[in-house]
Symmetry: C2
Subunit: 232 residues, 2 copies
Amino acid sequence: MRTLGILGGMGPAATADFYRKLIAATPARGDAEHLPVLIYGVPQIPDRSRAIEGGGASPAPALRRAARALAVGGAQAIVMPCNTAHHWHALVEQSARRPCLHIVDAVLAQLARCAPRARRIGLLATAGTLAADIYPARAAAAGLQWLAPVPEVQRGATAAAIAAVKAGDAAAARPLLRAAAEHLVECGAETLVAACTEVPLALDATDCTVPLIDSTAALAEHCVAWARRSAC
Amino acid sequence: MRTLGILGGMGPAATADFYRKLIAATPARGDAEHLPVLIYGVPQIPDRSRAIEGGGASPAPALRRAARALAVGGAQAIVMPCNTAHHWHALVEQSARRPCLHIVDAVLAQLARCAPRARRIGLLATAGTLAADIYPARAAAAGLQWLAPVPEVQRGATAAAIAAVKAGDAAAARPLLRAAAEHLVECGAETLVAACTEVPLALDATDCTVPLIDSTAALAEHCVAWARRSAC
């Protein structure tokens, strides 16, 4: 069976959540039917949003090293359970010389399955993911309209909630994310994407009045489909 | 910060649970204060219990390879979130040329903290962990009496429950583990140890009439203490 390389630690709880969802998405009757994984979980990789916004060290050297280490360790494909890190997707793919399964492709597949008629999609994402246009750029052909919260809500609710999850306080994050979700619905969002892998640790579908796509779970299913294809 | 090498996949859900508990046990205000980890999660490592009981391939070559890969990848210490794999503890330590933090040491530390007066300890463990005397051998100096279920209960309840968890059916495992726990209490156990890392995925302290030590959580706390010591 092919080994999946997981470039994680951004943040660590999101990586653990991804690993759990990968296992849950795998049809297996025992240990040996699960995917072999190699996880490089280094939370010291410089902050992605801060780098995109121009205020911090670049994570590029650390991502390059991690991608190479995963390839040397035997990974046949790479995934990053961090939306913002996808700003460096091409670099990771080149460094590993392996395909890097893209989280936006995974989310688009879920949108097509769960909300095929939705055209206006609200993003619960980091400032970096929004500033780098990670969703609109990758999904240009899909003809969707991507909505971000107004700056006060982005800073005061979404970004504050993500920081709370990273500090281990999901309970404090939940009401903030509910408010950001409600705001996006008021702006016209027909479906929401938890487009930061910290978000599903504090918000689930029962908190929202429109469908919520979990990018972590979407990426896990995308990986299981990759493993099935590669096994043929 | 020192990198922890996690030799996992035995089974995968137990490894993910360990990673989650390691993060929860770490006092951190953000990503960068968490431990860097390298996880080798290869569920194709041959079955440990079957090998100990003489009926299957040895996991030794796979464990040796994994331990070396973790050391080459930068791990400064190794842990195995699998009790039965500790039968090969010395081999892993020698292969990695790194300390391998022992799960029984972690459990003994928890017992000293949470149940200092308990002398008769019931084990919810695999057949391999019991047959290889992993707990009595490591804990000889502690003066404890280790109780195992009678063979019918071990096979029909504990082992069946562990297999159910490995097949993704924790709900089916729970009543079986409650029955095994109750049986051990009837045999005189004053405290129980979830001495297989699949067990805490289906049984918690509220299911038991005496204290229950979770070996996965104990190992996570042991690793956080190691990281704190190594940082000094």
